[in-house]
């Protein structure tokens, strides 16, 4: 671990790219947080008479089928997408890391059982299991979070099991045990904190993936629901308008692209700095 942490980041453009990603993320987060103040129109205000206006001074990104301002919705959509990403990652990291660290530290049959269970969940591609679950749970933002988290935690379990297993063999863990520190405390004090670095990198990489998956689910109609503003949903609603009213689809699509890109670039930069070999999902 120390070796990973102290590894020098690759110099030059690489870091700059990751920095650009970080800057973009700050921008997107700010835009989402400040949406109620910076959005030019009230959220969800319909105006059927002014439906499908092309981009103009009054509506920078145009309006949609019921006359809502697309810019406003893109800004509010960021709140949804980012909250989904945060919620999914928090839930799956919490569950996955807990199970993974326990598996890695305990070893033996405990590890076997936990790892086989994660194998089963991993056999379902995130989107597919989320699709199926979304049917079971009824589409909504909460469903998206639950469904994606269900498919995402095994990655953290696997990752932290591997690191925890190697940490558990470190002399400092043995030393702590020899000092008589009780096992749960050993895990919490020594194993867990030292297993977190790769998880943090993975979190950053995954944020983009979660946003894309959530968008795909909404796009299929199994995620966020009207009148919630969500980027995937907006693309889906405007999909049939691509040739006639391009702006309805293009701006939310770009928003997804930019946000996922920013997270991916940052995560990749971090990983390049810390561990270039971890498998991307």
């Amino acid at each position: 671990m120390t070796a990973l942490v102290t590894r020098r980041a690759l110099p030059g453009s690489v870091d700059r790219l990751a920095l650009a990603g970080a800057a973009l993320i700050v921008l997107v987060v700010l835009a989402a947080l400040l949406a109620p103040w910076i959005a030019p129109y009230p959220a969800d205000e319909v105006d059927p008479v002014n439906a499908l206006l092309p981009p103009s001074g009054a509506h920078w990104f145009g309006t949609d089928q019921v006359g809502r301002d697309v810019l406003t919705r893109v800004l509010y959509g960021g709140r949804t997408s980012l909250s989904i990403a945060v919620a999914v990652l928090a839930v799956s990291a919490a569950v996955g890391v807990t199970l993974g660290v326990v598996a890695g530290y305990a070893g033996g049959w405990v590890r076997d059982v936990i790892m086989r269970v994660t194998d089963v969940f991993l056999a379902f591609p995130a989107l597919l299991l989320s699709l199926t679950l979304a049917v079971v749970l009824q589409p909504s933002v909460t469903t998206v979070v639950v469904a994606i988290a269900v498919t995402w935690w095994p990655w953290y379990a696997r990752l932290s099991a591997a690191t925890a297993a190697s940490i558990a063999n470190r002399p400092y863990v043995d030393a702590a045990r020899c000092l008589g520190v009780p096992a749960p405390l050993v895990v919490v004090r020594h194993v867990l904190p030292n297993s977190l670095t790769p998880v943090l990198v993975q979190l950053s990489l995954d944020a983009g993936g979660v946003i894309l998956t959530a968008a795909a689910l909404s796009y299929l109609g199994l995620g966020a629901q009207e009148p919630v503003a969500e980027w995937g949903l907006m693309v889906q609603q405007g999909q049939t308008l691509f040739t006639t009213n391009w702006w309805v689809v293009t701006f939310p699509g770009l928003a997804i692209l930019v946000t996922a890109f920013a997270f991916n670039v940052l995560g990749e930069g971090l990983r390049g700095a810390l561990d270039p070999r971890r498998i991307v999902k």
Partner: protein
């Protein structure tokens, strides 16, 4: 090696068993009455009762699980509520086209991703590297459904370079009918020497395969780049340099093979992912694959069909991983020692 193989197979079987149980559990949770879905919206109570009996919906859950596993093993994956065909038959019809698309996309992704990754590693931190990194990141971050719409509009509809949709020009079936062997059109066309259909399929494949390939190509390029850079900073690369090898031949002749191992794992992973990603693309390009079947099944609450698709993709994933594990032994002699 033999012991490893047996252990690996055992693990795979265990996972398959888990997948079956999990699928079953999820399917039990689906709201709505499959009998209603089967008998149709205006069915009479008698018709509903008939349907219920037909699906064994009145038995206790564990009996149903037992029956489910037995049926699966004997090749009875249930009957689709929507198409009223055996699910396995439906899948057999839809899956080859998906395989064709995803296979083509993966080949494309490898053909593009690997050289591009090598290029980036060769000129790391220089301009080509930056270019590759940004492009591959974009490819990974773009929502496929959006990319599909955009490419279709530009290259098929506006420029007319490629067909808008479909698998091949169906009218060719009258002039040079296709004989089916594998059900994978392009393969069948190739082995029966049916050039008109072969070229037509190829032309139709370009755009959807490009869209599906975007994500895998991006991750493969990144992975190749990262592992090559890592590999090229290993001690052995220093020895090779000291022996007088050129940088490029160090990357391609010495570093690439050990670096391929994580790339192979990645491909197994991306394979199943691409099938599902394909679902989003197939609709746009009218590709007659699993995607439409899956989405239609989901919307109509067609439980057996959803379970079938889920199981199939999970099985493909397990199989792909197994194959990759064995391949890794070929690529990297160290893996054989496990």
């Amino acid at each position: 090696m033999a012991r490893y193989l047996i252990r690996r197979l055992g693990q795979a079987l265990l996972v398959v068993a888990g997948v079956i149980v999990l699928t079953f559990v999820i399917m039990r949770l689906v709201p709505g009455d499959p009998a209603v879905a089967y008998a149709g919206p205006k069915a009479t109570p008698e018709q509903l009762a008939q349907a219920r009996e037909r699906f064994g919906l009145d038995e206790p859950v564990w009996v149903q699980l037992g029956a489910y596993v037995r049926d699966l093993v004997t090749g009875d994956w249930g009957t689709s509520l929507r198409t009223r065909q055996p699910v396995l038959d439906d899948l057999a019809l839809a899956f080859p086209a998906s395989l064709e698309l995803v296979g083509a996309a993966l080949l494309l992704a490898i053909a593009v991703g690997v050289p591009v990754g090598v290029l980036a590693a060769r000129y790391k931190t220089k301009f080509p590297d930056l270019g590759v990194r940004v492009t591959s990141m974009l490819a990974v971050s773009v929502p496929v459904f959006w990319l599909a719409l955009a490419l279709q509009t530009v290259f098929a509809s506006n420029l007319g370079w490629f067909p808008v949709a479909g698998e091949y020009d169906d009218s060719l079936n009258t002039t040079s009918p296709l004989t089916l062997w594998t059900n994978i059109t392009i393969v069948d066309a190739l082995i029966t020497g049916n050039w008109p259909i072969f070229t037509s399929t190829l032309r139709h494949l370009v755009l959807p395969a490009l869209v599906v390939a975007a994500y895998p190509a991006g991750v493969i390029a990144q992975m190749v780049r990262a592992t090559l850079i890592e590999e090229a900073s290993q001690d052995h690369a220093r020895l090779e340099r000291a022996l007088g090898f050129r940088e490029t031949s160090i990357l391609t002749r010495f570093a690439l093979r050990p670096a391929l191992n994580p790339v192979l794992s990645l491909i197994a992973l991306v394979f199943a992912y691409a099938i599902v990603n394909g679902f989003l693309v197939e609709a746009v390009f009218n590709w007659p694959g699993l995607g439409r079947y899956a989405v239609d099944s989901i919307f109509s609450g067609d439980t057996p069909a959803i379970a079938g698709v889920t199981l199939l993709v999970a099985l493909v994933y397990v199989l792909a991983n197994l194959v990759v594990d064995l391949l890794q032994g070929v690529v990297d002699p160290r893996a054989r020692a496990r």
